[in-house]
Amino acid sequence: MSTALSPSRPAAQRPGLTAIRDALRAEWVKQRTASSAAWLLAGLIAATVAISAAAIAANRCPAGLTCPVDTTKLSLTGVEFGEAVVAILAVLPICNEYSTGMIRVTLAAMPRRAVVVAVKAAIVSGMVLAAGIVAVLACVLAGRLILPGHGFSPARGFPPLSLADGPTLRAAAGSVLYLGLIALLSVGVAAIVRDSAVTIGAVLGLLYLFPVIATFVGNMTWHNRLERYTPLAGLNIQATTGLRSLPISPWAGLGVLAVWAMIALVGGALSVRLRDA
């Protein structure tokens, strides 16, 4: 008995750098060879930029009116909708393994289950961050090109969007991080729920219902609570004007989302570890 266990122990219990590198490589090969990931990344960029461009184009500042518009936030509107694609992208690697039974092969090859979740989270969020950078840069560029023609001109106090501007850079970089955190949150929920439809429903519910409820709730106390403690808080990272009236400061808001993502990931890792595959 003991002789049978001992050969597998060193590999299973001390996953050196090599083991983690191998795990990362295995997951990367899976993602690279599944055609859906490439399509979804392209869809993430397309949806984010298209909705941002549409939101920018739909807003005008008529002559003679003062427009209390945060042009940076306006240009990054698409992020709130690109996150739906991020959710699918991040949910599928885990849920598909569970639905096809592939997870058993994966866990046989990599018995350290928490490492499996961590590696999947790393690969998925890495891909989302890369695509997010492209999408956010395109959104800022769209704002820079379209806004001046819609009345948001330098003469009226709206300098062209530029990443050299501190708050704009923070909003843009923060939006990329926001998408990455949404990916981590989705991976965590997927590891807990396992079924793709239910996971997607849960993640999209988490992301989209709080804004709707916050819109309808008449009570300001509850409105502020929702904006402060739900994943919605992460979007405060996009604000560049009226920072004092924000329900939560930009980085703290992103921190709230990070806490949600961490809770989901830890819950996911525990769930994968404690339950049978």
Partner: protein, 539 residues
């Protein structure tokens, strides 16, 4: 050979005919058994119903209302702030406040007048204690109005018919709060005056307008039921408060303040029995929540100048409502939250068959593939309808008292409308479930199907109530399945009312049934496409 082959074919034909005859009942039955034996789906539907109910009850009556009777009187909250709300002849809540220069008219008769000007002033913001009042600016609200009116009595909410000039909607005939007929266009001025006439004959009042006092055109006819022999008739002026909404991304801002409109009249002509022989002026309707400019009238020979504020119109929800009003559908706003759970279950109802290969067994048992789709749609639609109905009834039953308790006025609607709102909400959930099951059949993958349906219904609505300007949101809520939510709107969109209301206030661009039809069209199109694909593709 020939006879043998005929003999073997015959039983086949009769068996397939028999299968066709009995096919649908068992198909529904087997789909129902599938649904009821998956515990997760039952739990999903219960969760959906609870989400609709809990969110709705949480959202209902969540506002806080405060008021003061005067600068030095104690602050009041909740119900104490609610003024008595007049009810119009049609049973709807109305605002009925204006300055009325009147005398009784007994029996049949008419009143004719020439309007030479309609002017207005407004202030931005309210006067603060111990500070100079804000400066008055010249300007007219679009629905500032002045003209002549015949009214059953001076009681707010009583029946009336009026001919008026308005700030930017030309001459109108309005009667009994909800009816509005357009007359001559353009603003009245000394160079281009407007002549107005109202003629009473029993319960019937006819409104005429003219540009020169000689050539008259009939604008409309009102039948005011139960008019007594003696009515109050004369001149009036009213204007809603000043409001300038800067709608932009991330919430518009409303700037408002009291306004006062003044109509200048001359060439007054009366026919019939006007026994009093003298005019008296009175402010009709008071409302401590909405500050009003005091009205009044001046007479110089045959010329009158009548000033007033307020409005004669139905009440509608929205930021400009003069009282904190809400609607019967407000406790149903949670339908969105439950919808996601319903969509997940409905999409999986088809997609899981593909995951486990069960679809081949299903199609072997029911070879008519369209019938499988129809059976699934009927089962999931019925389950979603019953879930939605139970949750809606409970949400309204628990939510409305909560709204009334915080001092919100629930705009009254007819029983038929209330039933339409509640049953319509359940039908909205049911049709969305059918759309989801059809999209599940088309896409075959749970994740893709759930995301597509949420992207079709929830995202357009979310975009419309949060980031999109009203003009764009109006189109989004016409052409996406989210239009179906219009079935919840209990108070119609009155064109004679500036409400600044958007979907966030429960006001939709399409009428309830038209909006619901848009959702149904999507569901039918998805079902048709699913039926074709199901037949063409291998399972």
């Amino acid at each position: 050979m020939t006879s043998g082959s005929i003999a073997t074919e015959r039983p086949d034909v009769s068996r397939s005919r028999a299968a066709a005859r009995v096919g649908f009942g068992p198909a529904i039955r087997s789909e129902w058994v599938k649904f009821r034996s998956v515990r997760g789906w039952i739990i999903g539907m219960i969760v959906a119903g609870l989400l609709v109910l809990l969110t709705g009850v949480f959202l209902a009556g969540n506002g806080s209302i405060g008021c003061q009777n005067g600068p030095n009187s104690p602050a009041l909250t909740g119900k104490a702030c609610l003024p008595p709300v007049p009810i119009g002849p049609g049973g709807e809540a109305v605002s009925d406040s204006f300055y009325f220069v009147h005398q009784p008219l007994v029996g049949n008769g008419s009143i004719t007048i020439r309007v030479t000007a309609l002017t207005g002033i407004y202030t931005q913001g309210l006067a603060q204690v111990g500070q100079a009042p804000p400066p008055a600016h010249k300007g007219l609200e679009p629905w500032a109005k002045a003209g002549i009116i015949i009214k059953a009595s001076t009681r707010p909410g009583s029946a009336y018919a009026a001919m008026m000039v308005t700030g930017s909607h030309g001459v109108r005939m309005q009667y009994d709060y909800t009816s509005d007929v357009a007359g001559l266009p353009g603003l009245a001025s000394a160079a281009s005056p407007r002549w107005l006439r109202l003629t009473r004959s029993g319960d019937t009042i006819a409104g005429y307008d003219s540009a020169d006092g000689r050539h008259w055109a009939l604008v409309g006819t009102a039948h005011l039921t139960g008019l007594s022999r003696a009515v109050q008739a004369g001149m009036f002026a009213a204007t809603p408060p000043y409001n300038k909404a800067t709608t932009s991304l991330f919430g518009g801002s409303d700037q408002g303040g009291p306004a006062l409109a003044t109509g200048s009249f001359d060439n007054l002509g009366l026919r019939g029995n006007w026994p009093a022989g003298a005019w008296s002026g009175v402010n009709i309707g008071t409302n401590k929540l909405t500050p009003r400019s005091p009205g009044g009238f001046r007479r110089a020979g045959s010329a009158f100048a009548v000033s007033g504020s307020g409005d004669i119109a139905p009440l509608a929800p929205g930021p400009l409502s003069p009282i904190p009003s809400t609607t019967v559908e407000e406790p149903l706003a949670g339908v969105f939250v439950g919808l996601i759970a319903v969509v997940v279950v409905a999409a999986m109802f088809f997609t899981v068959e593909y995951r486990r290969g069960l679809i081949r067994v299903t199609l072997a048992a029911t070879p008519h593939r369209g019938r499988v789709l129809a059976a699934k749609a009927i089962v999931i639609g019925s389950v979603a309808f019953i879930t939605g109905l139970a949750a809606s009834i409970l949400a309204v039953w628990l939510g409305l008292p909560k709204e009334r308790n915080v001092g919100e006025y629930v705009l009254p609607v007819s029983t038929f409308t209330e039933v339409r709102v509640i049953v319509g909400t359940a039908a909205f959930v049911a049709v969305a479930a059918v759309l989801a099951v059809a999209i599940g059949a088309i896409l075959r993958r749970s994740a893709a199907a759930v995301t597509t349906v949420i992207g079709l219904i929830v995202l357009p609505f979310l975009l419309s109530v949060t980031v999109l300007p009203v003009s764009v949101a109006d189109w989004v809520l016409r052409i996406t399945p989210a239009a179906g939510l219009a079935i919840q709107q209990s108070i119609p969109n009155y064109p004679q009312l500036s409400t600044n209301a958007s979907a966030a206030a429960g006001v939709y661009p399409l009428t309830p049934w038209a909006g619901f039809a848009v959702l149904c069209l999507y569901a039918v199109a998805a079902l048709a496409m699913a039926a074709v694909l199901l037949r063409r593709r291998d399972a």
